[in-house]
Structure formats: structure tokens, C-alpha cells
């Protein structure tokens, strides 16, 4: 008891001597997002149910725009990189770029999540406690017993739809999304490992819940949530264990202190590399880099499509933001000892993504494997450890995120009466039914494949040229071959859409609501602009390195 009081007094005394300065203007975007998330919880509690959706959507969009506006104003003052909150957060150029990326992607995701016209009542479950009852299972068409029951409601689809639209979607998804986004912003700004861990949990926990909220295919969705949660918990444990070992090695959790410790000390290399390995495993898991990708296809497949878009784009940005910072700041000096490991990981990720992507018959799983391949490309940029590599990776993250969200936006539009038609066979002949959507999707797929004049190509180009300059020619060649292999499965979808006859009982393309239209338009325009006129964004991404 006495000891506790004593330590408490010591801490108090230290605080009274040197209160850590806080640069409120620098961290305002995070504060806005997290503050709005708290507000959104209150909205959930006190605002009448019929108003909640509009209030939540308005609040979320205003938050993101306000945070973005603040960020722009702050960044235009050309601030010096600084650390704040007792050096736990580093607000430097990469942080600002990543925050901007996250806010743009978050905005697009919220737009997708908010859409209620494609799926009447929204894509999210009306009662989050709703167990997978027989009728939703029948709707998923997943069980043989369900096939018989699914025939029964078919003659009277109109009343069924009516009841579906009466049940308003639950709106917890908005505060959850904001909390997660806030966590991501802290994650890629965290300057010590403990802050990074807390941010990791703050971004992950809401995501686990969001994955389980799909209105259709409840079982798949809940399975995805459980799988993501369990594997995510493992990854967090790895991260934490690595953190502990590194603390044992360096005597500090600050990245700069670890960097100092690695520079020519006689400490235990075992602690260092075991710690680094475990830490990186946790980070690679979040970035869905192979071979730590096991959750990706299932979760992408099961989660509501809008959430998948959010997860695919924003989580990847946050995870690679953190990977970049950890590698650049803390482990640059020891890079010649570990870079072979990450070379291998990058190759494995590209090969797994490209090769297994070929065998997929579900479009969401296909995009999941594509994201694993892209994670490999991103990792190449991350392990160059040069300023060009840094800015190239940042550019790639923005380009990839925007395209991916638009891809999931389009996927959410192609539906049968039973929900989204994600099986590839359902996409055949889409160009005959709805040419505009087919061409938009073709463009996005070409961007993922890395065809010139799209952002995907510019991203690959800058990453590969940075890697080649850094002397990683073999990795670049493997990456190029992997790109060519991956191009096959994108092409396959293009062939299906354009050159095949439509299936007689094929899906219809819903007329997108204003929100989805906005998200897809944003994605397509940015994808094109970054491909044709990449200069401004390249300049923003390349004005400086990390501070610590």
C-alpha cells in the first residue's frame, strides 16, 4: 500500500515538474474523429430511432470533412515534424499523408456504409443480436435444407421486401467505424510501441464487431467475425510479446530508443530479432501480408461489402503506415540482418496472392487474394528503407485504397433477390445488361492489374523504381511476373463481363443510391487522376521522412 502511494507520488511529482506539452493543432484531426465517435455513442443512446440514421450519417460525414479540412489547413502551414504527448505521437509528413489518406478512404467507406437504397434498410443487420434463424439461412442458399424453404417465400417477394425495409438498420456501425478510424490514425502516428499496441486494439475491436453485422448471410458474417477476432487476438499477442522482448532488449518502448540501442551495442541479438520478428508478424497480419493472410479471404467474403471495403483499404493503410514507421525509425540500422526475411515474406505474399487468386470463383475472395498480392508489392516499397521507397509506398497506399473501395462499391451493386451475387458466374454478360457499371468495373480491374494511365500502374512504377534504385532487382522481377499472373484473374472477370452471354437468371444491377454513386465516382476519378496526373500527390508524399 505504502509502495503504491509512493510510486503514485513520484509520478505526480514528475508530472508537476514537466507536464508534457501537447500540440493540439497537430493532433486535432485525431481528436475530432475520436470526439465525434464518443458523440455518436451518445446519439445512439439518446436520439429517437427514426432520426438516428440521418443524424449518424451527417455526424460521421461532417467529422471526416472537418478533420480533413483541419489537416489541410495544418499541412499548408508546412509544419516541421514534431512529437507530442510526451513523444508518444509523431506528427511528420508521412503521418499527415497517411491521415489524409485514411480520411479520404474513411469518407468513401462511410458513404458506402450509409447507403440504404441498394439493400432496402441498409446492408447491416436490423437486430445485432439476431441469431441465424432458418429463414436467413435459406436466403443464403448455403444449406440443402434451406433450398426447399427458400422456394416458399418466392411467390410473394413484395411483402418480404416490405418487411425488410421496415426494419431499420442498426446504426452502431457509424460510431464503431469512427472509433476504428481514430485508432488507425493513432496507429500510424504512434512513436512508441505501447501506444501502437493500444491503437492496434482500438482499431481492431470495432472491426471485429462490424464484420458480424451483415443483414444477409448471417452465418458467414458471424463466422468471419469470430475468425477475424480469434486470429486478430493471436496477432495482438504476438505483437505484445515482441514488444516485451524489445523492451527487454532496449529498456524502452520508444522507437527512437530502440534505434539507439540497435546502433552498435553489445546487447542480446536474440532478444532483438525475436522481438522484431514477433512484432512484425503482428503488423503483417493486420496488413494481410502472406503468409499471415489466412483470415483475409474468409473475412472479406463474410463481412458486409461496405465493411470489407473499409477494412481492405483503411486497415491496410494503417498497418503499412505502422510497418513503415517501425522499420524506418527503429530498425534501419539493423536492416542488413533482417531484410532477407522480409524479402522472403514479400515474395511469398505476392506468389500466394497471385497464384491462389487464379483459383477463386467468388469475386470477394478474388479481391482478397489480390489484396494479398498488393500487400507484397507494398512490402517491397516498405523494405527499401529509402526516402523514395517511403514516398512510393505512401502513394501506392492511397492509390490502392481508393481503387479497392470503389471495387467493393461496385460489387455491392450486383445482386440477385437473395443479396449480392458474388459468385463469378453471376457476372457473365454484365456489359450487355448494364454497360456503364461493367466499364467502370473494367477500369477498376485494369487499375488493380496495373495498366498504364491508372493509379495502380503509377503506384507500381514508383514502388518498383524505388526498389530497383535500392538494389532489389530480383525482387522487382518477381513482382513483375506476379503482376502478370495476377492480371489473368482480373482479365477473367473482364472476359466474363464483356464477352460472355448473360445468364438467364443472372443478377440485376441495382440503381446505386446517391451515397454509393458518390463513393464509386470518387474512386474512379481519383484512380484516373492519380494515373494521369500523379505529380501533385507524388510531391506531397515525398517532402520528408519520419521524425522520432
Amino acid at each position: 500500500m505504502g509502495v503504491t502511494t509512493q510510486t503514485g507520488a513520484v509520478i505526480l511529482a514528475q508530472q508537476s515538474i514537466a507536464p508534457p506539452p501537447i500540440h493540439y493543432s497537430a493532433i486535432a484531426p485525431v481528436l475530432i474523429v475520436l470526439g465525434a465517435a464518443c458523440l455518436a455513442v451518445l446519439v445512439e443512446a439518446f436520439v429517437p430511432r427514426r432520426l438516428r440514421w440521418s443524424v449518424q450519417v451527417g455526424l460521421s460525414l461532417c467529422t471526416l470533412v472537418a478533420a480533413g479540412a483541419w489537416l489541410v489547413v495544418y499541412a499548408r502551414g508546412e509544419p516541421m515534424g514534431l512529437t507530442t504527448l510526451a513523444d508518444t505521437l509523431a506528427i511528420d509528413t508521412p503521418t499527415l499523408f497517411l491521415w489524409g489518406t485514411l480520411l479520404v478512404l474513411g469518407l468513401a467507406s462511410i458513404l458506402l456504409i450509409a447507403d440504404r437504397s441498394v439493400e432496402p434498410g441498409g446492408a447491416f443487420v436490423a437486430e445485432s443480436s439476431a441469431a441465424p434463424s432458418p429463414s436467413p439461412r435459406a436466403a443464403s442458399g448455403g444449406s440443402t435444407g434451406g433450398t426447399a424453404t427458400s422456394i416458399a417465400p418466392a411467390p410473394t417477394p413484395a411483402p418480404a421486401r416490405a418487411t425488410a425495409s421496415v426494419a431499420e438498420m442498426r446504426t452502431e456501425v457509424f460510431p464503431l467505424g469512427l472509433f476504428s478510424l481514430g485508432g488507425m490514425m493513432v496507429f500510424c502516428a504512434a512513436n512508441d510501441l505501447l501506444t501502437m499496441f493500444i491503437a492496434l486494439e482500438a482499431l481492431s475491436l470495432p472491426l471485429y464487431v462490424m464484420c458480424g453485422l451483415a443483414r444477409r448471410r448471417r452465418l458467414l458474417s458471424q463466422e468471419a467475425a469470430v475468425k477475424y477476432f480469434l486470429l486478430g487476438a493471436f496477432a495482438s499477442a504476438f505483437f505484445l510479446y515482441g514488444l516485451a522482448l524489445l523492451y527487454g532488449y532496449a529498456g524502452s518502448v520508444e522507437l527512437s530508443a530502440i534505434a539507439d540501442a540497435t546502433a552498435g551495442s553489445l546487447r542480446s541479438d536474440t532478444l532483438l530479432f525475436a522481438g522484431l520478428g514477433l512484432l512484425v508478424v503482428g503488423l503483417l497480419f493486420k496488413g494481410s501480408v502472406g503468409p499471415f493472410h489466412m483470415w483475409t479471404p474468409d473475412v472479406y467474403h463474410g463481412a458486409p461489402t461496405a465493411v470489407t471495403g473499409f477494412m481492405a483499404a483503411c486497415t491496410k493503410v494503417a498497418a503499412f503506415g505502422a510497418i513503415l514507421r517501425v522499420l524506418h525509425v527503429a530498425f534501419e540500422a539493423s536492416s542488413w540482418e533482417w531484410h532477407w526475411v522480409l524479402w522472403t515474406v514479400a515474395v511469398v505474399s505476392m506468389v500466394i496472392g497471385a497464384v491462389l487468386g487464379l483459383t477463386q470463383s467468388d469475386i470477394k475472395r478474388m479481391v482478397a487474394y489480390s489484396s494479398i498480392a498488393h500487400a507484397g508489392f507494398l512490402l517491397i516499397g516498405a523494405i527499401t528503407l529509402t526516402d523514395e521507397g517511403l514516398s512510393a509506398t505512401l502513394f501506392y497506399l492511397l492509390a490502392y485504397g481508393v481503387t479497392t473501395i470503389a471495387v467493393f462499391g461496385v460489387i455491392s451493386l450486383v445482386r440477385t433477390s437473395e443479396g449480392e451475387a458474388t459468385h463469378l458466374s453471376a457476372w457473365s454478360g454484365l456489359a450487355k445488361r448494364s454497360p456503364l457499371i461493367a466499364w467502370v468495373f473494367t477500369f477498376l480491374l485494369l487499375a488493380l492489374a496495373g495498366i498504364p494511365l491508372t493509379s495502380g500502374f503509377m503506384g507500381k512504377f514508383v514502388v518498383f523504381s524505388a526498389a530497383l534504385t535500392a538494389g532489389m532487382a530480383p525482387l522487382v522481377v518477381i513482382a513483375l511476373v506476379a503482376s502478370a499472373v495476377a492480371a489473368f484473374f482480373y482479365l477473367r472477370v473482364i472476359v466474363l463481363m464483356h464477352f460472355n452471354e448473360p445468364a438467364p437468371d443472372g443478377p440485376t444491377v441495382s440503381v446505386p443510391g446517391a451515397f454509393t454513386t458518390a463513393a464509386i465516382t470518387l474512386g474512379v476519378v481519383v484512380t484516373l487522376l492519380l494515373g494521369v496526373l500523379p505529380t501533385p500527390v507524388l510531391d506531397w508524399a515525398s517532402v520528408g521522412g519520419f521524425v522520432s
Binding site: 498504364p452 534504385t469 532487382a473 482479365l491 472476359v495 464483356h498 464477352f499 505529380t535 507524388l538
Partner: protein, 534 residues
């Protein structure tokens, strides 16, 4: 805006106009034809304006695109690029004319088809015209997209397979080339402190690069161009693409698109990696000779008319590659002019075969026989195209093939002798084709079917008139000889075959300075100076 930019932008504008008009088939067709004819006039003007004695690159223009990497939208032509641009400008209206009445798959329109063809034309002109290595790569890949939709959307029954195969092959090659493009940039950045993609500067910088660097850069470019050209082990996409593509598109594929590969050898592989290309020349020469022999033998064995042309082209690309990598100016001039003459000869052959197929409805050689009795004019055209293909003296290809062989013999006698066998084989497959399709008694399912029953086949006159007297006009079409449209399509090619056969000077005049500049960039002189009298 320079003339060259106009040559690139005009077909693009045309494509937009035609796409907008596609509801009205007639208007769309005439608009496309008009744009392609204006393009042809512009190309002729460019030819006149071009000064063979002037600087290496002419009609230049340059706009900044991505300053972070010193990427500029630079365009300019040398003699080789100019003649290729002229060939594209010539072939496109002919292809449009040929495709005027092509059957288009249901749900698609002539407007869409012609619009894609014009996009293809614009991108191909731009590929030949750009002088920025990065922009070249971008266009090299972009060029695939309209072609992919042309084959996949308008082709034969296996069109999806052919389109995807075509795309993936070229895309893979392009990506490997991208590694070399970036590698060249990275080397320039390291050597001079300032990376660049400008072709002329890269040529200077890389000319002094160590062999190890050059070899990798050479191999990246080589793979892309060897797939495009195509050289033998990498050729398998071409027969499929040529077989499944509509005839008009096949003309563009073998006539123009493939030339990007051989053009790339001359413009990029040799100057960017001069030492490596001489060290690795035997590799290319082996593949080239292999291509000549393998292509000729395969052509001999084909049962499908369109696949036959593909293999003929593969054999000819072997000749072109042989000439380029023989490193004498004679051989290279031969190769550069062969690129043009092959486009004319093979383009004509494809068109004539397309006209045969349009009459018989079958692509199998077995389905035809004795056609010359019914359609003498068409038979004559096949003979002209065939003779030009086998490089008979007096036709355009002869002079090129002769230059290639005589120029290559000076440095590479063994390869040259082996390749000469290809000339013999060419005579065999061309005459065999002509004999089986045109000569002998009228026979073959396609002809008999088209003419309206077995009774018609016995009487050539009946066949020609389409059995109108036999059943009172029930069989309306029959098998007619060439109509005015088809004559208009073939006439310019016939004229060129003969004129360039006897008077190739205008073309050689334009090509020669550029080839000699290439030779001096590589740092090679002709082995026997007395021969360099071209």
C-alpha cells in the same frame, strides 16, 4: 501542335466521333473512313515535310508530364518510325473498307468496331512516334487494350481464349520491359546524378554502361519485343490471335502491331544496350533462323488459312530479326524496309484471304478448290500477294529480303545460308496455297455450299452466277468476283507491291540515314566498306 501530334490525336478524335455516331451505322462508317483518309493525307504531308538529310528526330514536340521522374510527353520520328506511321495510315482505311460489310456479332455495332480500330491506330502511331522511354512503355501496354476488345469482342468462336492469351503474353513481356526501363532510369540516376527517360540522353548514358548492366537491360527489352515480334519460342499467341481475330484486325496485328517488336529492336534494344546486343546477338540469330525455318514448315502444314498467314509472318519476322542483328547497314536497311514491305505484302495476303473466306464462309483450305475459274480476279490478287510474300524479284519484298541476306552474309554466313532455305520453303507454301485454293477443278464444301448445292459445282459458269438460272434467283449471291469496294481496297496495295518492287528509292532514302545513325550509335562499322554504297 506539330504534324505528328495531329497524326496521333486525329484518330482519337475520330474514335470519339464514331463512337457517338454508332447508333447510325452508315454515318459512323463514313465518319471513320473520312477520319482515316484525312490521317492518310496528313501522313503523306509528314513524309514530304520530313527531311532525310536533317536531324535524327524530326517533327519533335515535348511537354512535361511527371517532373519527379523527368518524364516528358516527347514525340518525334526518324525515318524508320516515319515509314511505319505511313504504313499504319495506309492500312487503316483499307481495313475499314474491307470491314465495311463484315458480319459483326449480335449486340455489337460497326460503329464500336471502327471506333476501336481508330483508337488502335492512334496508339500505334504514338508508340512509333514517342521518344520518351517511359511513354513508350505506357503506350506499349495501352495498345493492348483496344486490341484485346477487338479480338475478344468481334472475333471467332475461340475469341476469349485468343484475346486473353494475346493480352497476357504481351503484358508479361511489357512488365519485364518495365524492369529494364526502370533499370535504365536507375542507372542514369546513379551515373549522372539525374535520372531521365529521354531516349536520346539514355542512349548516350547507357552506351558507356558496363556490360553487366547492359545485358540485363537488353534482356528485358528483348523479351518484350521477342514476344511482340514474335520470335519462335514465344510466338504461340500469334496463330491463335490471327485465327480468331476478324480479318481486318488480323491485318492490323500482323501488319502493324507486330512491327512494334522489330521496331523496338532497332530503336531501343540496340542503342540502349549496344555492347550487350552484340554479345548476345547469337542468341537472337539462333531464334531468328529457327523462326524462319519453323515458321515456314508450319505454314506448309497448316489447314487453316488464317493460321497459315500467322506462320508466314513468323518466318518473315525471323528474317527481319536476322537483318537487324547482323550489324551491317545493308542488312539493317533491308530489315527496316522489310518491315514496311511485309506490312504491305502480308496485309494484302490477309485481305485477299479474308475475301476468299467471305465467299466460302470457311477458313479451312480443304473447303476450297478451283476458285480461279469462278473468280479470276480474286485468283490474280492471291497470286500477287503470294508472289510478294515469297519475295519474287519485281515485287516489293524482294529488295528487302535481298538486302537482308546479302548484308547478313558478310558477317553471319552460316545463319544466312540457313535462312535462305526459308526463301525456298516460302515458294513451296505460297504455291501450294494458291494451287489448292485456286487451281484444279472446282471443289470443296465451302464453294459448293455457297453456290447452292452439289449441282452447281460441276459447272463453273453456274457457280459464278450463283445458280440463278437453275432455281430462279433463289440463290442470290453465289460466288461473285471482286466487287468495286474490294477492288478499291486491294488496288493501292497492288500498285505499291509493283512500284516498290521496281523503284524502292523513295523509301530507302528515308530509312537509310536513320539506320546509319543507329549503326553509329552502336559503334559498329560495316565489315567491307566497299559494300556500303547504298
Amino acid at each position: 501542335m506539330t504534324l505528328l501530334l495531329a497524326l496521333i490525336l486525329l484518330p482519337l478524335a475520330g474514335a470519339v466521333v464514331v463512337a457517338l455516331l454508332r447508333g447510325n451505322e452508315r454515318a459512323a462508317k463514313f465518319a471513320a473512313l473520312a477520319f482515316s483518309l484525312v490521317e492518310l493525307v496528313l501522313a503523306a504531308v509528314a513524309w514530304i515535310v520530313y527531311d532525310p538529310a536533317g536531324p535524327r528526330l524530326q517533327l519533335t514536340s515535348s511537354v512535361e508530364w511527371i517532373p519527379a521522374f523527368d518524364i516528358r510527353l516527347s514525340f518525334g520520328v526518324d525515318g524508320i518510325a516515319l515509314v511505319m506511321v505511313a504504313v499504319i495510315a495506309l492500312l487503316t482505311p483499307l481495313v475499314l473498307g474491307f470491314s465495311w460489310r463484315e458480319r459483326i456479332p449480335t449486340g455489337r455495332t460497326h460503329g464500336g468496331f471502327f471506333s476501336l480500330l481508330l483508337v488502335q491506330q492512334a496508339l500505334t502511331v504514338a508508340v512509333f512516334a514517342t521518344t520518351d522511354v517511359f511513354v513508350f512503355y505506357v503506350l506499349f501496354e495501352l495498345m493492348l487494350i483496344p486490341m484485346y476488345f477487338l479480338i475478344g469482342g468481334y472475333g471467332g468462336p475461340q475469341r476469349q481464349y485468343a484475346a486473353v492469351k494475346f493480352f497476357l503474353y504481351s503484358f508479361l513481356g511489357g512488365l519485364i520491359m518495365l524492369a529494364s526501363v526502370i533499370g535504365a532510369y536507375a542507372y542514369a540516376a546513379r551515373a549522372t546524378g539525374q535520372g531521365t527517360f529521354d531516349w536520346a540522353r539514355l542512349t548516350q548514358i547507357l552506351g558507356d554502361a558496363p556490360l553487366g548492366v547492359q545485358v540485363w537491360i537488353f534482356l528485358g527489352f528483348f523479351l518484350a519485343f521477342a514476344i511482340k515480334a514474335p520470335l519462335v519460342p514465344l510466338h504461340t499467341w500469334l496463330p491463335d490471335a490471327a485465327e480468331q481475330a476478324p480479318i481486318g484486325v488480323a491485318v492490323i496485328v500482323v501488319g502493324v502491331l507486330d512491327k512494334v517488336g522489330t521496331f523496338g529492336f532497332l530503336r531501343y534494344s540496340l542503342p540502349l544496350a549496344p555492347d550487350a546486343s552484340q554479345v548476345l546477338a547469337p542468341l537472337v540469330l539462333v531464334l531468328a533462323v529457327l523462326g524462319v525455318l519453323y515458321g515456314s514448315l508450319q505454314a506448309f502444314g497448316q489447314v487453316d488459312l488464317k493460321r497459315l498467314i500467322a506462320y508466314v509472318s513468323i518466318a518473315h519476322f525471323g528474317f527481319i530479326a536476322l537483318g537487324i542483328f547482323a550489324f551491317t547497314s545493308q542488312a539493317q536497311i533491308g530489315s527496316a524496309s522489310y518491315m514496311v514491305n511485309h506490312s504491305i505484302a502480308t496485309g494484302m495476303l490477309v485481305l485477299v484471304i479474308g475475301m476468299i473466306i467471305a465467299r466460302g464462309g470457311s477458313t479451312r483450305i480443304d473447303d476450297y478448290g478451283g476458285m480461279a475459274q469462278v473468280t479470276p480476279l480474286l485468283g490474280g490478287m492471291l497470286l500477287v500477294a503470294g508472289l510478294s510474300t515469297l519475295s519474287l524479284p519485281g515485287t516489293n519484298s524482294f529488295i528487302s529480303e535481298f538486302l537482308v541476306l546479302i548484308g547478313s552474309f558478310a558477317t553471319r554466313p552460316v545463319y544466312t545460308v540457313l535462312a535462305t532455305l526459308g526463301m525456298v520453303l516460302a515458294a513451296v507454301y505460297v504455291f501450294r496455297l494458291y494451287q489448292r485454293v485456286m487451281q484444279g477443278p472446282v471443289s470443296g464444301n465451302a464453294l459448293i455450299g455457297a453456290a447452292g448445292g452439289p449441282g452447281a459445282a460441276t459447272d463453273p459458269n453456274l457457280l459464278a452466277r450463283g445458280a440463278e438460272n437453275a432455281s430462279g434467283g433463289a440463290y442470290r449471291a453465289g460466288i461473285g468476283d471482286l466487287d468495286a469496294r474490294e477492288i478499291a481496297v486491294l488496288a493501292p496495295l497492288v500498285v505499291l507491291v509493283i512500284v516498290l518492287g521496281f523503284y524502292p528509292e523513295p523509301m530507302l532514302e528515308v530509312i537509310t540515314p536513320s539506320v546509319e545513325a543507329t549503326m553509329s550509335e552502336i559503334g559498329v562499322t560495316d565489315p567491307v566498306t566497299s559494300q556500303g554504297g547504298n
